[in-house]
């Protein structure tokens, strides 16, 4: 490269022109161009360097402080950086904000007309029961009823499994269930469409959300562990959102949410509530079991 020519040329022209001399045009658009060489006074160079390094140092300290404070408290305590409960109030706000932005992106990506991929029976994989609580006592099943609240009629509707199966068409699908932990399973489900239920028992006109709960859930020590979850009605109306009654051709077992569970393949597994006992339609976003524990709210995948 003609570094020498390029360097000497502007010096010769110094008095005649203040415009920097443009180097020769490269042979190709993609070809690397010779570096821009300039000559500066040593003091000036030292001053710039000092200024730039000070700015960089300040920026680096700020970056370390911000990045470090974003780490979870448990991690900082384990590292011995903090003792006791020292939480920066804005930190949760910032992380929550990122979570909400990610939820908004998920909602923007969602389309009621986009179907999730379906599989063949040979692609079915084992589905584990990921609930680490006690499996509920199956005694609740004979008396099980699904209660619908927040309906346009102003009434509360109570259905049993026979009413449900008699009034609605049963749909089958082989879809993937994806867990927030990262594992997934392909299973063959059958049940009624949530959309059909919404048409038969329309919610109040302002309703945008459904609160879906299971009151029969039992915790690790057999204690009541009610599970409640928010679902936007747009997702509830997706044609592949089922109120499932069957798994792999057999009625649901207690481990998988007998007699009726939500199957919503466009959401993470944690939104797929087992053994649903009540659906309440609301205008405001209802509380969510896992959002209260630091997970996201919308969970669209």
């Amino acid at each position: 490269m003609n570094l020498e020519d390029e360097h000497t040329a502007p010096e010769a022209d110094d008095t005649s022109s203040t415009e920097p001399v443009s180097p020769q045009k490269p042979a190709s658009f993609f070809q690397e161009q010779p570096p821009e060489v300039m000559e500066v006074a040593p003091q000036l160079l030292r001053r710039w360097t000092r200024r730039d390094l000070l700015l960089f140092g300040a920026g680096a300290i700020a970056a370390v402080a911000v990045a470090g404070s974003l780490l979870p408290q448990t991690t900082l305590k384990r590292l011995g950086i903090i003792q006791g409960n020292k939480n920066w109030p804005k930190k949760e706000w910032l992380l929550n904000r990122a979570l909400r932005i990610d939820d908004d992106v998920a909602e923007a990506l969602y389309s009621r007309n986009r179907l999730v991929p379906t599989y063949t029976k040979s692609q079915i994989t084992p589905l584990k029961n990921n609930y680490n609580g006690a499996t509920p006592n199956p005694n609740y099943i004979p008396e099980w009823r699904l209660t619908l609240d927040g309906l346009a009629s102003g009434l509360s509707v109570s259905l049993n499994i026979r009413n449900l199966l008699a009034s609605f068409r049963v749909h089958e699908q082989i879809t993937r269930l994806v867990c927030v932990e990262g594992w997934s399973a392909i299973a063959w489900w059958a049940g009624v469409r949530f959309d059909d239920l919404l048409r038969a028992y329309p919610p109040i006109s302002q309703a945008k959300w459904a609160r879906i709960e299971s009151s029969v859930n039992l915790g690790p020590w057999g204690n009541p562990d009610p599970y409640f979850m928010s679902l936007d009605l747009s997702t509830a109306r997706h044609p592949q959102t089922l109120l499932a009654t069957h798994l792999n051709g057999k009625p649901l077992t207690v481990e998988h949410g007998a007699p009726l569970r939500l199957l919503v393949p466009v959401k993470l597994g944690l939104k797929n509530v087992k053994a649903i006992t009540r659906i309440t339609y609301t205008a405001e976003e209802p509380k969510d079991y896992w959002a209260e524990r630091g997970y996201s709210y919308y969970d669209g995948i």
Partner: protein
């Protein structure tokens, strides 16, 4: 070269102002990195570190690589097994309270931190994508992208550079002459290979990240990586590209000296003619 750096003309004027009256001996410097490239370079340090720490915590929730549970420890995760091995064999760690967690306690946010890790991972993933845009804008504005493009002779030259680096410590120890391969481009072939591959790996990490984050809405993307489970494996191994890059990158920059490190802070280098450095 049209340099669009905001203070470019100002620099030029200052240069003329300082050079003409006293006619002092000037220092020749050469522009190396555009301001936006430098910013995105340093921002990558906390962002990538947080992505890796939170990513390993997310991996903990459901390790891709599993074996039958060990009858003694109950562990099914090779990473946990490494922790058990370290605690059993490294002096001073025999009393470690939970050996299966050793690896997760040291290269992640800690075990059982899925919710916290996901929050941090999403925040940093968006920042990483924005930072990638800053990097690309800086490359275009400064024209630096041309120096990153692979050349036809790169594979051969990169091999020569690789053996040069391998040989340097031995040559130093035995006080033998060990010639640096000559090149007259901004980067040598091995650097170019590395600085070209890392943005490609970053792009693939972003794509596989979306593929496992939205496997239903973006199922076509998930399918291009062979489905959900394979896309997770891609995403996992791409992390090691960054780790394998960063270690020699830092070692070589420190070995190369202050001028190279400073050029990523201030943007210019006093090594105006690189080929001259290695001509002896």
């Amino acid at each position: 070269m049209e340099n669009t750096c905001a203070n470019s003309t100002q620099l030029e004027n200052e240069r003329i102002a300082t050079l003409t009256p006293g006619n002092q001996a000037g220092v020749r410097v050469v522009r190396r990195h555009h301001l936006l490239v430098r910013c995105s370079h340093w921002l990558n340090v906390p962002i990538l570190l947080s992505l890796i720490l939170s990513g390993v915590s997310i991996y903990w929730a459901s390790p891709v690589y599993q074996h039958k549970p060990d009858p003694q420890t109950g562990s099914f995760d090779p990473l946990a097994d490494i922790g058990v091995w370290i605690c059993a064999h490294v002096p001073g760690l025999h009393q470690y309270s939970s050996p299966p967690d050793w690896v997760y306690n040291h290269i992640s946010l800690g075990p059982g931190m899925l919710a916290a890790a996901l929050r941090l991972h999403w925040l940093c993933a968006y920042l990483f994508m924005l930072n990638g845009l800053v990097f690309i804008i800086g490359l275009v504005m400064g024209g630096g992208w041309r120096s990153l493009l692979p050349r036809r002779t790169d594979l051969h030259d990169a091999t020569r550079m690789f053996w040069y680096y391998i040989g340097v410590p031995f040559a130093k120890l035995t006080r033998r002459v060990w010639l640096h391969p000559r090149f007259n481009t901004k980067y040598n072939a091995l650097q170019r290979l590395a600085y070209f591959s890392v943005p490609v790996a970053a792009l693939l990490s972003i794509l596989t990240g979306w593929a496992i984050h939205k496997p239903m809405q973006l199922h076509w993307l998930t399918a291009t990586f062979g489905g959900y489970d394979k896309a997770r494996i891609w995403h996992f191994w791409l992390m090691f590209v960054f780790i394998l890059f960063v270690v020699p990158h830092v070692v070589l920059v420190l070995a190369d000296g202050w001028d190279t490190l400073r050029s990523m802070i201030v943007g210019w280098s006093t090594r105006a003619d690189r080929s001259a450095d290695f001509s002896q």
